[in-house]
C-alpha cells in the first residue's frame, strides 16, 4: 500500500491506543480493563502491521505477530485466569475517582502531544504524531500503576507502558533487531508468569490482591 496511507493508518491505530488507555483508566471492572488492554495490544499489532506493510520489512511483521500472540492473547488470558482462580471481586480499587482520572489522562494526552516536540524523530514514514502518542500511552500506563491498587491492574498498567514503547519502537525506529525483540517478549512472558505466581501467594497471605497490604517495609 502507499506510504501515506500507511502513516495515516499508524496514526489512527496510535490514537486508538490512547483512547483504549483512557478507557482503561475509566474502567471500573477488572474484566473490562483486561479486555481493553487486549484491545490496545491488538491495535498496536495493527500499527506494527501497517509499518511492516509500508516498509515491507519482515522482522516488523514478526514483531507484530509476537505482539498479537503475547500481549493481546497470552498476557490478558493469564491475568483472567488469576481472576477466575482467586474469585476476588472484579471491582477496580483506585485512589482517585473515575472522572478525575479520565480528565487527567486526557489532559496528559494533550499536554504531551504539544510539549514534547518530535523533532529528532523524523520517522521514515512520516508518522509525526507517533512518538508523543507513544509517550502518552506510556505515561497513562504509569498513571494506572500509580493510581490503581490491585496487583492485576498494575500489571495492566505495565503492559500499557510496554505497548507505548513498542509503538515508539515499531514506528519510529523500524522496531528492534529480531533477536532483541525475542528476548524482550521472553522477559515479558517470564514477568507475567511471576505475577501469576505472586498474585496467588498474595491472595493466600493477605486474602486480596490489594497492593495497599504491601506497606509494612518502611524507613
Amino acid at each position: 500500500m502507499s506510504e501515506a496511507l500507511a502513516s495515516n493508518l499508524i496514526d489512527d491505530f496510535a490514537i486508538g491506543m490512547v483512547i483504549a488507555g483512557i478507557g482503561i483508566i475509566w474502567a471500573r471492572s477488572l474484566g473490562w480493563a483486561l479486555i481493553l488492554i487486549g484491545l490496545q495490544s491488538t491495535l498496536l499489532a495493527g500499527a506494527a502491521l501497517g509499518a511492516a506493510l509500508a516498509t515491507d520489512s519482515t522482522h516488523i511483521l514478526a514483531g507484530a505477530a509476537l505482539t498479537l500472540a503475547v500481549k493481546s492473547i497470552v498476557a490478558p488470558t493469564v491475568l483472567w485466569l488469576v481472576l477466575l482462580r482467586l474469585r476476588t471481586s472484579h471491582d477496580v480499587q483506585a485512589s482517585i475517582g473515575q472522572r478525575t482520572g479520565t480528565v487527567i489522562a486526557i489532559a496528559m494526552a494533550l499536554v504531551f502531544g504539544q510539549s514534547l516536540d518530535a523533532s529528532p524523530f523524523r520517522t521514515a514514514i512520516g508518522a509525526e504524531r507517533v512518538l508523543p502518542t507513544a509517550i502518552t500511552v506510556m505515561t497513562m500506563g504509569i498513571m494506572v500503576m500509580v493510581t490503581h491498587r490491585q496487583a492485576i491492574i498494575q500489571i495492566v498498567g505495565f503492559l500499557m507502558i510496554e505497548n507505548g514503547m513498542a509503538l515508539a519502537a515499531l514506528t519510529a525506529t523500524y522496531g528492534m533487531p529480531l533477536v532483541v525483540e525475542l528476548g524482550i517478549f521472553l522477559d515479558l512472558l517470564l514477568a507475567v508468569f511471576v505475577v501469576f505466581v505472586y498474585s496467588g501467594r498474595m491472595h493466600a497471605i493477605f486474602g486480596s490482591l490489594d497492593t495497599h497490604e504491601l506497606r509494612t517495609l518502611k524507613g
Binding site: 533487531p177 528476548g183 505475577v195
Partner: protein, 492 residues
C-alpha cells in the same frame, strides 16, 4: 580459547541449575551449585588472563565482546558468586533446620542462584546492548524469585516492589536503548550491529546528539533504578533486607555493578556524541543525591540489613559521582571504589547474615556484644565497617581520596567537598551502629552460635582480597583498572 571460556562461563551455572533438579541429585544441590560457581570462576579468570594479555576479545560472530571493563565486572561476579554459594551451604541448612525455609525449596534456591549467576555473567560479556538489556531484565525476574524464597508476607512484599519498580525502570532503559538504535540505524542499518557496542563505539561521534541526550536520560533513569540511584532506589532496601543473606550479598555486591556497567557503556556513547559534560553532570547530580538521601536513613536505622542496603545506595552514588567527576583520577577511583565496595559489601552481608541467624533478629537494638558471642562475625563486621567507612589502609580510602583530588583538579571542588562531607556523615553513622552491635553488652543467657568453616571462608575471602588490592595491588589489577577507566573515559 576465549569462545570456550565464555561458553563455560555461561553454560556451567545453567547446567548446574538443571542438574540440581534431577531428583537423585537434589540432596547434593549445594555442592553442585558450588561446583558450577567454581567453573564459572575458572572461566572468568581464564577470560581475564586472555584479555589482560592480548587485549579486548570478541567471539561468537561478535555477539560476545570482552574488554577490561567487562573483565573487572565479570571477575567480581564470579568471585562473589563463589563466596555466596559457599556461604549458602551453612546458611540454607540453618534456615531449613530452623523451619524458615521449606526443605523442598532448598534445591529451588540453588537452581535459582545458579540461574541468577548465569544471567549476571552474560551482562558484561555481550556485545549487543539489546541483549544486555534482556540479560539485565532476566536478572530481575530470577532474583525476584530468590528474594521471595521465604514464603512470608514481607518477602513477598519486597519481591513485588522489586518486580514492579524493576520492570518499569528497565522498561525505561529499553526505551533508551531503542532511541540509541534509532540514532545509530541511519549509520549502521537496521541489523543487530546497530546495537553492537563495538560498532556503536566506532560511530559514536556521528550519533545525533539530541536523540542520544534523550536516550541517556531514559537509560540513566531505567538502569539507575537497578543501580539503586536515588530517587529510584526505593525497592533496594526492601529487597536486599528480605532476601537470604547470600543473595543479598550478590544483589548488593555485584548485581548493582551490572546495571552500573550498562550506564557507563551508554555514558561513553553519549559523551562521544553529545559532549561529556552532559552525561557527567547527570551522573554527578544522581550520585550526590543518592549519597545525600542515604544519610538520614542511615542515621536512624534499626535493621542491620537495611542499613547495609542503604549503604549500597550511598556507595553506588559515590561511584557515579566519581565517574561523573571524571578525569583519569576520578575514573580510576570510580573503578577502584566499585571493586572495593563489591568485596566489602558482600562480606558484610554474609557476616551480618550469620549474626542475624544467630540472634534471630535483624534489629540492631537486640543484637549486642557480637564480638563476645561470635568473635569472628563481630570482628569481620567491624573490619568491614571500617573498610566501608573509607579508613586506611582499605582501598575505599584511596578511592575517596581520588574522588576529592579529581574533583579539585577538574574544577568541581565544591562538589567533591560536599560529597565527602555526606560520605563522612554516612560513614560515621555506620560506625556508630556497628560499634554498638559489635561491642555492646550481650543479652544475658545468649549462647555463642557455632562458627561453620564455610561461613568463615566465605566471609574472610572477600576481605582478604580487599586487603590485597588495598595494600599490595597486583600489577595486573592495576592495569585492568587503568584500561577500564580509560574505556569509561572514552579513550580506547
Amino acid at each position: 580459547m576465549i569462545a570456550a571460556a565464555v561458553s563455560g562461563l555461561v553454560a556451567a551455572p545453567i547446567a548446574a541449575a538443571l542438574v540440581i533438579q534431577i531428583p537423585l541429585l537434589r540432596r547434593f544441590a549445594g555442592l553442585l551449585a558450588l561446583l558450577g560457581a567454581m567453573l564459572t570462576l575458572i572461566s572468568a579468570v581464564l577470560i581475564a588472563v586472555e584479555v589482560q594479555s592480548n587485549g579486548p576479545q570478541s567471539t561468537f560472530k561478535d555477539w560476545i565482546y570482552v574488554d577490561s571493563l567487562s573483565v573487572v565486572i565479570l571477575v567480581l561476579i564470579a568471585v562473589v558468586g563463589v563466596c555466596a554459594t559457599l556461604n549458602s551451604l551453612p546458611y540454607i541448612d540453618e534456615d531449613v533446620a530452623s523451619g524458615h525455609l521449606r526443605s523442598q525449596d532448598a534445591p529451588r534456591y540453588y537452581s535459582l542462584l545458579m540461574l541468577f549467576m548465569a544471567t549476571m555473567v552474560i551482562v558484561p560479556v555481550v556485545d549487543n546492548l539489546g541483549i544486555m538489556w534482556v540479560a539485565i531484565e532476566a536478572t530481575t525476574v530470577v532474583s525476584v524469585l530468590l528474594v521471595s524464597i521465604y514464603r512470608t508476607g514481607q518477602s513477598l512484599e519486597a519481591a513485588w516492589k522489586y518486580l514492579v519498580l524493576g520492570s518499569v525502570g528497565i522498561a525505561m532503559a529499553l526505551f533508551g536503548t531503542m532511541m540509541t538504535f534509532y540514532a545509530s540505524s541511519p549509520l549502521l542499518g537496521e541489523g543487530s550491529q546497530s546495537l553492537a557496542w563495538t560498532d556503536l563505539r566506532a560511530v559514536a561521534e556521528q550519533l545525533d546528539p539530541d536523540v542520544m541526550r534523550l536516550a541517556f536520560v531514559f537509560v540513566l533513569v531505567g538502569y539507575g533504578t537497578k543501580v539503586g540511584l536515588a530517587p529510584m532506589h526505593t525497592w533496594l532496601p526492601d529487597a536486599h533486607s528480605q532476601a537470604p543473606s547470600p543473595v543479598s550479598a550478590l544483589l548488593s555486591g555485584v548485581l548493582l555493578n551490572c546495571a552500573l556497567y550498562a550506564v557507563l557503556r551508554f555514558r561513553v556513547l553519549t559523551a562521544a556524541s553529545a559532549g561529556s559534560d552532559y552525561a557527567d553532570d547527570l551522573l554527578i547530580a544522581f550520585g550526590l543525591f543518592s549519597v545525600g538521601l542515604a544519610v538520614p536513613f542511615l542515621v536512624v536505622q534499626h535493621d542491620i540489613k537495611r542499613m547495609l542496603a542503604y549503604h549500597s545506595v550511598e556507595h553506588m552514588g559515590i561511584i557515579a559521582l566519581a565517574a561523573g567527576i571524571g578525569g583519569p583520577v576520578g575514573l580510576y577511583a570510580a573503578m577502584l571504589h566499585l571493586v572495593a565496595h563489591s568485596l566489602t559489601k558482600s562480606s558484610l552481608f554474609m557476616a551480618a547474615g550469620s549474626v542475624v541467624q544467630a540472634f534471630n533478629t535483624r534489629s540492631m537494638h537486640r543484637m549486642r556484644g557480637v564480638i563476645k558471642l561470635a568473635p569472628f562475625s563481630g570482628a569481620s563486621l567491624i573490619v568491614g565497617a571500617l573498610a566501608l567507612a573509607g579508613l586506611p589502609p582499605f582501598a575505599m580510602f584511596t578511592s575517596e581520596y581520588g574522588l576529592v583530588s579529581g574533583s579539585f583538579s577538574s574544577g568541581q571542588a565544591l562538589i567533591g567537598v560536599i560529597g565527602l562531607l555526606l560520605i563522612a556523615l554516612a560513614a560515621a553513622s555506620l560506625l556508630y551502629h556497628t560499634v554498638h552491635v559489635a561491642y555492646g553488652e550481650p543479652r544475658p543467657g545468649k549462647t555463642a552460635p557455632r562458627l561453620r568453616g564455610a561461613t568463615l571462608l566465605s566471609v574472610s575471602i572477600p576481605l582478604l582480597l580487599l586487603l590485597l588490592v588495598s595494600i599490595a595491588p597486583p600489577a595486573a589489577f592495576d592495569s585492568a583498572l587503568r584500561d577500564a577507566a580509560s574505556i569509561i573515559g572514552g579513550s580506547e
